[in-house]
């Protein structure tokens, strides 16, 4: 199994600002994944974060908007930059062991 924590659990931000979301796993993993869930929608993969290399972004997501850090094998951050109301979503990280485990999510509201 895997225990994943995320900080913050929720935040309300002003447009134009940035927010960094942290994801901590209880043991080492090779890959960590970041997802976005817009209101009333399903989950969409943003990027894959590997330790020691740049993240790999999915179509429609770019590093300037969603910079990711992966400083070690148990931790990653996702920054949502220059936010607009359209960025209001739940952001989740996940890791894979015998199955995929998700963090509790960060609920972001941009005003």
């Amino acid at each position: 199994s895997a225990v994943i924590s995320q900080k913050p659990s929720r935040d309300i931000c002003q447009r134009g600002t940035s927010l960094t979301i942290q994801c901590q796993v209880d043991s080492q993993v090779t890959m960590m994944f970041w997802y976005r869930q817009q209101p009333g929608q399903s989950l969409t993969l943003i990027a894959t974060a590997n330790q020691g290399s740049e993240a790999t972004y999915e179509s429609g997501f770019v590093i300037d908007k969603f910079p990711i850090s992966r400083p070690n094998l148990t931790f990653s951050t996702l920054t949502v930059s220059n936010m607009s109301p359209e960025d209001s979503s739940i952001y989740l990280c996940s890791v894979n062991r015998d199955q995929t485990y998700f963090g509790p999510g960060t609920r972001l509201l941009v005003l």
């Binding site: 997802y35 995929t100 998700f102 963090g103």
Partner: protein, 111 residues
């Protein structure tokens, strides 16, 4: 981008009835997973079925997988009000844990 389609989009049933939802996907997969989400809360992993498996059971849940048709179904038997949630299928092409989610089925179970 999303890998699959789910149908129906919404399902309303009474307690004790069975609920069936379907998921179709586009590419070859290593495994397919089903998740439940209550009211925008965290994801709960229900079942993982591998590409070489055809059927799997867990309690009141039964999942089938037809790789020739690129489709899966989730059956919830003897539904309860507590089964009210959104259900998502997610495919993993290479077992790394990089998931592509379907659009989801919203299930409402009335007493």
């Amino acid at each position: 981008s999303q890998q699959g389609e789910e149908d129906p989009q919404a399902l309303s049933i009474q307690e004790g009835e069975n609920a069936t939802m379907n998921c179709s996907y586009k590419t070859s997969i290593n495994n397919l997973q089903w998740y439940r989400q209550n009211s925008g809360r965290g994801l709960v992993h229900l079942i993982l079925i591998r590409s070489n498996e055809r059927e799997k059971h867990s309690g009141r849940l039964r999942v089938t997988l037809d790789t020739s048709k690129k489709s899966s179904s989730l059956l919830i038997t003897a539904s309860r009000a507590a089964d009210t949630a959104s259900y998502f299928c997610a495919t993993d092409e290479d077992s790394w844990g990089k998931l592509q989610f379907g659009a989801g089925t919203q299930v409402v179970v009335t007493p």
